[in-house]
Amino acid sequence: MADHADGSLLSTPLTDLHRELGARLVPFAGYEMPVQYPAGIIAEHSHTREKAGLFDVSHMGQAWLIGPDHATTARALEAMVPSDVAVLKPGRQRYTVLLNQEGGIVDDLMVARPQGAENDGRLFLVVNASRKAVDYELIAAGLPGNVRLEPIEDRALIALQGPMAAEVMAAHAPAAADMAFMGVAEMEFDGIAVYVSRSGYTGEDGYEISVPAGAAEPLARALLADERVAPIGLGARDSLRLEAGLCLYGHDLDETTSPVEGAITFVLQKRRKDEANFPGAARILSELAEGPSRVRVGLTLAGRAPAREGAEIRSADGSAIGVLTSGGFAPTLGAPIAMGYVDPAHAGVGTPVKLVVRGRELEANVADMPFVPQRYHRKPSA
């Protein structure tokens, strides 16, 4: 995964496998990535909802944050995010956002605290491919002298998602079966040392598997050898996450949107709100108390025509109230869906709105998200 200064695209440890599987490869965040395989986006989408899909997400940034002990490393990261990182137990992961000084979202990311005394003081980060450089520069600049950022360049990341993911995974990594949603663990997959998290970007149960680059292809082939598993491209990854109501950075979130506007206030925990010591705290706490000037909502369309990112959202009386940030066809629903930002006065579920597509107004309604119920693995309470 060497950097190509001449502007050519980067590959992942699975690029040759994608080609062999007949993928259509497209440029994405500087990488040559599979947008779809011969089955096509709708078939890949449905396969993931019904069985298990394998996704190459090696373009995403994996990094260690390393300090002398958990409290120190957590405090260092907390200076840049609004979440309670200190409270994270070994073996647990949390979704959070990097903030700029105005409370805008620089990136959304996963932060995991690995298990084991030897890992005390380490946090494992997974950031968006398109934001790696920006994130790493921001994080490194904000760290105290005794905490360092160590980007990981020699590991691939493979997601296995879908209702059959757990059964498939159990045959290779039995320890994965017992993991709870948002749990993380080191384990062996057919003898390969991997970091596994029980999470994903589809709304389904599943895993993200961090694997040494040299072992990525054998691991992917072992999973694909299971007839329940099919390779899934970025096209279906996008339609799956949209149905699940999950944000895509650079579209549904950017440096101007706050977590309150983005309707992801679950990244804010009470202690951090009380301390009010994260970047942009004044704006974010004020938006929490008084309401933001715009808020992200889901939208369902009455007809069959999809509306895309950038379409204007109008109120029932025709005035401009916002803009779409994602929009497309939901294969599970067989209908178009979208998300966008609107004036909070029009954000109530059921509110009729119009979406302007090619000069025409399409009827739509504000809808609850997720559009398709999430089926994450919740452990029964003991």
Binding site: V35, Q36, G40, I41, I42, H45, G235, D238, S239, R304, A305, P306, R308, G328, F329, P331, P336, R358
Partner: protein, 123 residues
């Protein structure tokens, strides 16, 4: 006369002064799963190069341009309910529009099957 093709991956067959227009197999493969087709109203006058239809795949919207001048005399209503037909039978049942040509000499500018095949091999 035989089927003609455009560089925008439309096919055209002619019966009398009416041209039937659709998109090619190559085009539907590039688009992927088609989920919606917006067709022009019958009676609309189009000029060569005008946006005559829109094909929406899961990922994106693509314009279909009028290959000839003329008047739209029929739009394929089957596509409203079964847009997936564009993937299944692009050069048959999933035709888009029929246009009554106002200048049949424009057909001379279009490619024949051999020329179109050679063209897509350069892409």
């Amino acid at each position: 006369m035989s089927t003609r093709y455009t560089e925008d991956h439309e096919w055209i067959t002619v019966a009398g002064d009416v041209a039937t227009v659709g998109i090619t197999t190559y085009a539907q493969e590039q688009l992927g799963d088609v989920v919606f087709v917006e067709l022009p109203e019958v009676g609309r006058t189009v000029s060569k190069g005008d946006e005559a239809a829109v094909v929406e795949s899961v990922k994106a919207a693509s314009e279909v341009y009028a290959p000839l001048d003329g008047e739209v005399v029929e739009a394929n209503s089957v596509l409203a309910d079964e847009p997936g037909k564009v993937n299944e039978d692009p050069e048959g049942a999933a035709w888009f529009v029929k246009i009554r040509m106002s200048d049949a000499s424009q057909l001379d500018d279009l490619m024949d099957a051999a020329a179109y095949k050679a063209y897509i091999e350069t892409l």
